[in-house]
Amino acid sequence: MGTVLTPTAHAKLVLHAAKHPSQSVFGLLLGTGNEAIDVVPVTHNFLALSSVFEAAIEQTNLYAATQSSQLRIIGAYVANANLEDTELSPLAAHLALAAAGGVDAPVVLVIDNAKILDGEKSLGLLPFKQQNGAWKPAQGVVTLKGDVFKTLQLIRKALETNCQSLVYDFDNHLDNAALDWLKNGQITQALQLKA
C-alpha cells in the first residue's frame, strides 16, 4: 500500500535536498504502481513559474518513455525551505496532479528536513495522496527497497564527501545544457548503486 523507493531514487532525492539546504526543492518520481524506481530533480527555486514546469514535466515524460514502456511519473517530492515546515505546498500537489495524470493515485512525498538523515528509524518522508479531492497524509509507510542499512550508509558517506554537488536539476540544466538532469548518471556512478 505504501510507496516503495529504490536505493537510487532515495539517494538522489536526499542528495538533491542536501545540495540546497536553505531552499525548497522539487522533483518528480518515476516508477510503476507504487514503486518509485528513479527520481528526476526539477528545481531548487520552487516558485509558481508554469512555463518552466511545463517543459520539465513534458521532457520527463518523454524521457520515461524512452527508458521503459512501464515507467511513468507517479508523483513528486518536495522539501520546504523552512526546517520545521512539513506541510504539503498546494503548488506541489497541483504539479503532481498535472504531471502524474495517467496514474491512479499520484503521491507527493514531503521531505521532513529534520528527520531525513535519521536513518533506519524513519526515512523522513511524509506521503500525501488525494482522498475525495482533498490532499491528505496517505495510509501506509514509505519504505526503502534492498539493503536499507547499506543504502543509508552510502548516502551518509556521500554527504560527507560532498557528492550532492553532483546532482543536477532542470534549473541547473537551463544554465548549462551539458548537465544531465534526467538521468544524473554521475550520481549512480559515484555511489555505485545497484538499481
Partner: protein
Amino acid sequence: MLDRTSLDYLSKDLSIAMMPGSESAVQGNTEILSVVGPNQVYVDGTRLLASGSFPSDVERLALTEQVIVAALETGRIDEAQALLAPLRTRFETIPKDTVQFGSLRVARLEGMLLEAQGKHEAALDIYNRALVQDEAYAPILKRKVGLLLDQGKTTDAMKELSHYLDHFSSDLEAWTMLATLYLQANMFQQAAFCYEECMMLSTHNYLFTTRYAELMMTMGKPKLALKYFSLAVEITASAGGALRAWYGLRQASKALIEEFNASSAGKGAGKKGKTDVEEDDSVSIDDWKELNRVAGERILGIYSEKKAGSETVSVVKSWLQTV
C-alpha cells in the same frame, strides 16, 4: 574573498548574471562558477586569520565578520562563539543614554548567533534594542525580516520587508527576496512589481528579465512574456542567447500561435476587449511563427555547442515537436 557583493560588481563588466539568493553565476550558457560557499569561506577564512597578516585592522575585522557568518551558516556554533568573544571585548557595550551597543555590526552578529542557537526571542530583543539606537540601520532591519521568516511569520516578514524597501528602494537583494515571498504566496501582481524594480536596478542581468517573463506566462500574458524573453535574448546576444530565454521564447510564441488559431477561426480578428497594454499590432502571427522557429533552431544549436548527451538531445527534439 570573492563573495556575493563583489560578484555583483563584476557582473556589470563581464555580463555575468547572478540572481541574489541563487548559488551560481551564469555567463551566457555557461555556469561559470559557483559563488564561494560558506564552508569554503570558513575553511579558507580561518586559515587566513591564523596565518595571514593584514594591511589594516579593519580588514582583519571584516574577514572575522565573514568567517563568523560562514561558521553560523555551516552549523559551527561553538567556533562562531569563540570568534565573537574578542569582538565583544573590543567593542564593549557601555550603556549610556540610548547607546546600547559599542558596535551595531557586532550586535548583528550577536543576534545571528542567538538565532542559530534557536533563541529567537533573545535575538529579536537585540535587534529591537539596536534599532532604538539607530532606526535606519539596514543590516539589522534585514536581519529582522530573516528572523520572522525563520519563525514562519511570512506575512509579518513581507510587511517589514516592504517597509524597509520604502526607505531603501535600491536594495536589489531585498526586492528579489520580496518578489520570492510574494511568488510563494501566489501574489503574482505584487511579485511582478518587485521584479520590475529588480530589472530597473540591474538592466544588464537577463535572469530578472527571464524570471519576469516566466511570471508573465504564469499570469497568462504571453505577449508580455514574449517581449521580455526577447529582451533576455538580446541581453545575452554575445553568447548566442541564453537557453533559458530561448526556451521561454519558444513556449510564449507557441502560446500566442495557439491563441491566434483558436480565435475567430484564425482569421486574425484579434481579441477585442483585451487590455491595451497587451495589444500590440506591430507583431503579427508571422512574427510569432518565425520566432518560434528560430527559438527551436537556437535551442538545438546550444545543445550541440555544449555537446549535450545524445539521450538529452533526443528528448529535447521530441519536446520541440510539441511546443
